[in-house]
Assembly symmetry: C2
Homo-oligomer: 304 residues x 2
């Protein structure tokens, strides 16, 4: 069993200085699973309403994503509306219609409970804990969260962090969770809670991974055009875990490489609205950009 991701499948309405996407396909599980599908088998657990078009399900299936965990229940699909200014690092949420998401109680199909890799996308930490109880012996579990849960359910969130191998959050969330302005101190505090690795996303400034004894810094790919940052974090996580599940290499070097593959995937995703860029992407482009990351960061042992 490859990767299982539990998260959201949604409609997004997004405005950036470069355009507008209305009711486009979005959601954390959507971005994650599409990104991971370039590397390995991935199964999705999420809920949608009756208004969710068959066309989107067909797209997920076309990526070989197992959608048997995608529940369709009466009501409307989760809808997020947001806007980005010229500082594309942070979204401003204009409207959140949870709709069927309020009834989401993830119940993993039997086969999913044998997952080797589990990604708990940004949902209620109490639900993340329920999912953790259902999965039997994963090799690696990672989770995401957001400011809303940090302020409303810090205790449940703390329990989640203690039970996962890897936490993937953004810089502001790391600071908010610990109340510590210095990122290194904030990171040390989170790692000391019990998660082995903390991956801090910094938007256009890349990613820092902290363990108890080391730090790894990966830049973001410097892009001349960023159209829509929506889903970049989940696309990053999908690339990272997809690569890990594909290689099975959980050494420090293997995990670093997975972070670079995650960064590569995120860099493609922001080049167009919704999942449009991932839809046209092929694996050779991914490999080529990975090599560019290497030539962009290494300063010893370069080829020529």
């Amino acid at each position: 069993m490859g990767i299982v991701v539990v998260g959201t499948v949604a409609f997004d309405t997004v405005e950036t200085p470069f355009g507008r996407g209305e009711n486009v396909l979005g959601g954390s599980a959507t971005y994650f699973s599409t990104s991971a599908s370039f590397f390995t088998d991935v199964s999705l657990v999420a809920v949608v309403g009756e208004d969710f078009p068959e066309e989107h399900v067909r797209f997920l299936r076309s990526r070989d994503i197992d959608v048997s965990g995608l529940a369709c229940i009466p009501g409307k699909t989760f809808h997020w509306t947001g806007r980005y200014g010229y500082d594309l690092n942070e979204a401003q949420t204009l409207d959140t219609q949870l709709n069927v998401l309020t009834q989401f109680r993830p119940d993993l199909p039997e086969a999913y409970r044998e997952a080797d890799y589990l990604f708990l996308a940004n949902i209620d930490p109490d639900l993340q804990l329920e999912v953790l109880d259902q999965v039997r012996h994963p090799r690696l579990v990672a989770c995401d969260t957001m400011n809303f849960w940090i302020s409303s359910k810090p205790e449940a969130l703390k329990k989640v962090l203690q039970r996962v191998d890897m936490v993937v959050i953004n810089e502001g969330e790391a600071r908010q969770f610990t109340g510590e302005a210095n990122l290194v101190k904030a990171a040390r505090q989170i790692v000391s809670l019990g998660c082995k690795r903390l991956v801090v996303k910094r938007g256009e400034y890349g990613v820092l991974m902290f363990t108890a004894s080391s730090i790894f810094a990966a830049p973001a790919y410097p892009l001349e055009e960023v159209f829509d940052p929506t889903g970049a974090g989940d696309t990053f996580a999908g690339g990272m875990m997809g690569y890990l599940a594909n290689t099975g290499n959980l050494s420090d070097e293997g995990i670093r490489q997975s972070i670079v593959f995650g960064s590569v995937m995120a860099s493609f995703n922001v080049e167009d609205f919704s999942l449009n860029r991932l839809k046209s992407l092929d694996y050779r482009e991914i490999e080529e950009r990975y090599r560019t990351f290497r030539s962009m960061t290494h300063f010893e042992g370069l080829d020529g």
Copy 2:
């Protein structure tokens, strides 16, 4: 002949959330030359007033810095007063007393005109052009500038950029100079003016170096305590050029390594007020932190 730096020697009064330094030793040429002195011979061209204490000159001499280009003229030494908030990336200037700096017309001692490496620290671009006319056949010339010159003397500055090998400026300045919000586009524009390499400083997010055909990204060293960012940029440039002058290796790999040594020096400098941390630094610490940078950034060919 090693490095010649033309810039300022100053008194700084600096306030950060962690303390205050009053009338401490500062100035671009001071930070640059002290940092470079860990790697190579460096000669300084600057001006001070009669109030400049012999003790500071003794300090520079103790670092084997050639101060025969340090003019002492009637009047008071340049004095900068600034403040940093919790966001230590940007200083707020509270007061600037140029004093003797208004009479600064760099006239290089004959021996200095044979410099192999020249750093034009942040001064009036017209003066930078005068210095360029005096130096005969440097192997590498780099320059810095600031927002004030970008808005008041863009044409002179453009001429400087066309005559140097390397421009070292911060992110906001690159955007301001080109009027381009996207950093990659801004960088491409500056490189196309004629300088071969553009080094963009991004504070706690590290450094990006652009050439016409490549990008190199170096993170900043993640510090748990940053006391005073004053002089970090000049300390960076001093470490970078000091290393280059020491090795003479101007290959792409050599220049990348010099950027990492520059980042190492800057990371030490911000750990204490004024030049206090550089005063206590020894070369083994520099080498050790360089190795940490390597282990922090490489994701292939790690030792273990």
